[in-house]
């Protein structure tokens, strides 16, 4: 058959619904779209879990050893590629401000790097206070805070919600100090997924050597409510829908086989009418492409709408690509299934099919 004749037959079969096109497009869209959305949602959930882990400071590791933390060693951890911030801290008792003489405020001396751990913007030297405390006292960034030793400009206000993280900073004043030779704690925000031994080794390296064999060293997290560690890549790779592509491929293949099976009488009749097998396969392939394009558009559009109104809307583009990939496997399976079954159609089946009709 000529190419135009094949296109004509395929289009008429598709447009008239003779090939069951409406049902095929609908089922392909649902199977491909649902599996795609499920996989995208699973990835979105994993991303959210990672985001929650990071935003709750669960990735901030701590070593505590009184008077043994080197501020320079601790601050320099943030120069590492897998560490996004680090700094040292020590408890300096409580402060009473003239503005609230009845209020005892926990105060900590911190190294220069520490402020960057809690404050992502603004001047990271001087004095910073937690948002809870600033709210209570009515201070904002840049205000002059009266202290017993004179007025000090408030460099910044940091959020420290009560979400399971170290509660000491929830209501605290941090004062940057460069003159402290040794701190009590080193905090470092380290990319998760490396394992506890790695964090312990990294943080222990910030401790000053001591002859006191009995000095106490504690290693831990700022917030351990989300687990000790988390591997972002493993969360995505081990998601429950990681084989969605395979399910989509097999599902698509089954749909393809069924789509050809339900019109096997008509296909064997076409062979009987003189069509070569190559003509038959070419016609089925072009019909498949019409179905693939239609189903792809419906499934992608539906997935975009579903994901746009999901909790993962802020990463719509990335998740939509994931969804489309799964849908693509489904459509590929459909083409393979339909062509494979069409290839088994024989003219001689016509008699048996007709008799069993």
């Amino acid at each position: 058959m000529r190419a135009r004749a094949i296109f004509r037959e395929s289009w008429r079969n598709f447009a008239s619904g003779a090939s069951g096109s409406v049902g095929v497009v609908l089922v392909l869209s649902v199977v491909g779209g649902v599996l795609g959305c499920l996989d995208a949602s699973a990835v979105g959930t994993a991303h959210q879990e990672v985001q929650q882990y990071l935003s709750s400071a669960a990735d901030t590791r701590v070593v505590i050893s009184t008077g043994r933390v080197s501020p320079s060693a601790c601050d320099s951890l943030s120069a590492r590629a897998d560490t996004t911030g680090s700094g040292a801290l020590r408890d300096s008792g409580s402060t009473r401000l003239p503005a609230a003489p009845g209020l005892s405020i926990s105060t900590y001396e911190v190294s220069a790097g520490f402020v960057s751990l809690v404050l992502t913007k603004g001047d990271q030297t001087g004095m910073v206070m937690s948002a809870e405390l600033a709210g209570r006292l009515g201070y904002q960034t840049g205000d002059l805070v009266e202290t017993s030793s004179g007025p000090v400009r408030l460099s910044g206000v940091f959020d420290w919600p009560d979400d399971g993280r170290d509660a000491r900073l929830h209501y605290a004043l941090l004062v940057s100090s460069e003159s402290v030779p040794a701190f009590d704690e080193c905090w470092a925000r380290i990319e998760p997924g490396h394992g506890q031994a790695y964090y312990d080794e990294l943080l222990s390296a910030t401790l000053l050597a001591t002859l006191d064999a009995g000095s106490n060293v504690q290693l831990g997290q700022v917030n351990n409510t989300h687990g000790k560690d988390l591997s972002p890549s493993a969360l995505v790779n081990d998601r429950v829908t990681k084989l969605a592509w395979l399910a989509a491929l097999l599902g698509g293949a089954c749909i393809g086989v069924f789509a050809v099976w339900q019109r096997r009488l008509s296909l064997s009749s076409n062979l009987h009418a003189g069509a070569r097998r190559a003509d038959l396969l070419a016609t089925v392939l072009v019909e498949d492409l019409f179905c693939v394009v239609s189903s792809g558009m419906v499934a992608t559009g539906s997935a975009a709408a579903v994901l746009a109104f999901s909790p993962f809307a802020d990463e719509l583009a990335e998740l939509l690509v994931r969804s489309v990939l799964v849908t693509g496997w489904c459509l590929l399976g459909f083409v393979i299934g339909s062509l494979a079954y069409a290839a088994t159609t024989r003219e001689s089946q016509l008699f048996r099919l007709f008799k069993s009709r």
């Binding site: 058959m1 000529r2 004749a5 008509s266 009987h272 003189g274 008699f351 009709r357």
Partner: protein, 210 residues
Amino acid sequence: MHGGLDGSSDGPAIVGSGLGHSFGQQWLFRNLSFRLVAGEAVAVCGPSGCGKTTLLSILARWLAPSEGELARYGVARVSWVFQNPHGVARRSAVDHVVYPLLARGLSVEEAERGASDLMEQFSIGKVADHPFSALSGGEAQRLMLARAVAASPDVLLVDEPTAQLDRSSARTVNQTMGKIAGSGSIVVVATHDQDTMTACDRIIDLQAER
């Protein structure tokens, strides 16, 4: 036009020698010998279950005979028209006839023109654009004959073409089969309709071959 016993002729020929077919111990027919030549319309008759359709299957080589030999000469294409017309419900009537012409390599325009001509010849031109599902039994049967003819068969096997038709439609179908044979094909019709037998050149009575 008529060939020799070896099958040599100007057109296709089929020679059956001592053909028989059985299902288990039950013989449908035995010792059946015949020679079919181009331009001939042959009726295969007998009561239901005597093996008419089975004989057509053997002629189409979709079934091997239990005994005897079948030789086909110059037969490249066999078309079969079933008792119950089978078409694609949603496709137009004319599309059913266009397809075999496209399969023969004609252009879309040539095939559409040829199909229209055939539809007129078979007196179904008026329903050319109707979907197959909207055709009457007689129209559908004539459409299937037109489709079979469009494939340019050397042998046309027709199974009970008038079984479900009214007298007028049956007469048209019988005339149509005569025309097809006249164009140089071998037409073999399984039937127990007396009018169809009368319209054919020759009769093979399977009842007599049991």
